[in-house]
């Protein structure tokens, strides 16, 4: 239900977005099975690549659930941002709010009003 459905293709522009089949012939059920199989496989690779270990089985299972959700999020991001590559990164076992909390850190403010403005520079040769 994410905004993917709100992505409006401007067919008038010269950008001719590819319409790609995103569900295999086997239909949504097969797609779901593939996704779960893939997710566990990817999670195993993810843990070894980034040396991830979890203190308890509960934590492990919870992180795998988060990982699966992030796989779908990466798929959605790839649809919304097709000129970049999106997928499994070292943050794939974090929820978006954990990611923001731990790895960002810009005060959500405007620039200080009293900051000095840079002089306008010539840009034509």
């Amino acid at each position: 239900t994410y905004v993917v459905s709100a992505v409006v293709y401007d067919f008038n522009s010269d950008e001719d977005p590819l319409i790609r089949q995103v569900v295999p012939d086997g239909g949504v059920e097969q797609e779901t099975d593939n996704h779960l199989l893939n997710a566990e496989h990817h999670f195993t690779l993810f843990k070894s690549k980034y040396g991830k270990t979890y203190a308890t089985q509960e934590e492990h299972d919870y992180r795998m659930g988060v990982f699966k959700a992030n796989l779908l999020r990466a798929k959605r991001n790839a649809l919304l941002d097709p000129s970049a590559v999106h997928g499994v990164t070292k943050f794939s076992d974090l929820t978006p709010s954990e990611f923001r909390q731990q790895f960002l850190g810009l005060k959500p403010l405007k620039l200080p009003a009293d900051a000095q403005k840079a002089p306008i520079l010539p840009t034509d040769n």
Binding site: V3, A6, V7, D14, E15, D16, P17, L18, Y50, N70, R73, A74, N77, A78, L80, D81, P82, S83, A84, V85, H86, G87, V88, T89, K90, F91, S92, L94, P96, F99, R100, Q101, Q102, F103, L104, G105, L106, K107, P108, L109, K110, L111, P112, A113, D114, A115, Q116, K117, A118, P119, I120, L121, P122, T123
Partner: protein, 233 residues
């Protein structure tokens, strides 16, 4: 303005760093800009201390209540420049190494200052002016919305929809005229961004985002800093 430009080709950018699990991106962005400015004024590329900002900089923005730099809980690059101006400068990374947390006391030693700020300013939301300030003054501290960065692995990011509310601080080191975007079979001009999540994220620690329409707010919080020519003690 050159069509392509990258301060990494001119030796003004230190290696990719890793802020770890600490919301200190603002200090990496500010330090990256001062490292570049210091290189331009001294010819020496010195890795400077983010930990000094994390531990010692609690500068507040006079215009906004509660907008104070606070270690792993966030900060602002312009406030970091203000702190550095008042404190006299930053130590080298090696003299005040990064720990990734903000529980320690301030251990700033004035006798070990390696770079100082002479002034800093904000750049207008005009891509030509951003490019011109980048070429003239060195890498720029910029804010960005990081929503698409959690899953980013490479390429030129150019989301159809991306909020412009800023939640991450990074360093603008260059720009390119043509980043091949397969899906749209066209080349997109892009900014080259140095991030602080280690070299095993993105393109060896770097992020490319398309230019042209303030995508993810990347044009809306840009600041530049000038360094004093100091003799390190």
């Amino acid at each position: 303005l050159p069509e392509d430009f990258d301060w990494r080709d001119h030796g003004a950018v230190t290696g990719v760093k890793d802020q770890g699990s600490c919301g200190s991106c603002w200090s990496f962005s500010a330090v990256g800009a001062l490292e570049g400015a210091n290189y331009l004024s001294t010819g020496e590329l010195v890795s400077l201390s983010e930990q000094q900002l994390v531990d010692c900089d609690h500068e507040c923005d006079p215009e906004q209540y509660g907008a104070c730099d606070s270690g792993c809980n966030g900060g602002l690059m312009t406030s970091a420049f203000e702190y550095t101006l008042k404190a006299g400068g930053l130590e080298r990374e090696e003299d005040y190494p990064y720990t990734g947390n903000d529980r320690g006391p301030c251990k700033f030693d004035k006798t070990k200052i390696a770079a100082s700020v002479s002034n800093f300013s904000v750049v207008s939301v005009d891509e030509d002016q951003i490019a011109a300030n980048l070429v003239k003054h060195g890498p720029l501290a910029v804010g960005i919305n990081a929503a698409f960065m959690q899953t980013y692995m490479g390429g030129v990011s150019c989301p159809y929809i991306c909020f412009r509310s800023l939640d991450h601080g990074v360093l603008l080191v260059g720009y390119g005229a043509e980043g091949y975007a397969p899906i749209r079979f066209k080349n997109k001009p892009y900014w080259i961004i140095k991030n602080s999540w280690g070299a095993n994220w993105g393109e060896d620690g770097y992020y490319r985002i398309c230019r042209g329409r303030n995508v993810c707010g990347v044009d809306s919080m840009v600041s530049t800093v000038a360094a004093l020519h100091t003799k390190s003690q």
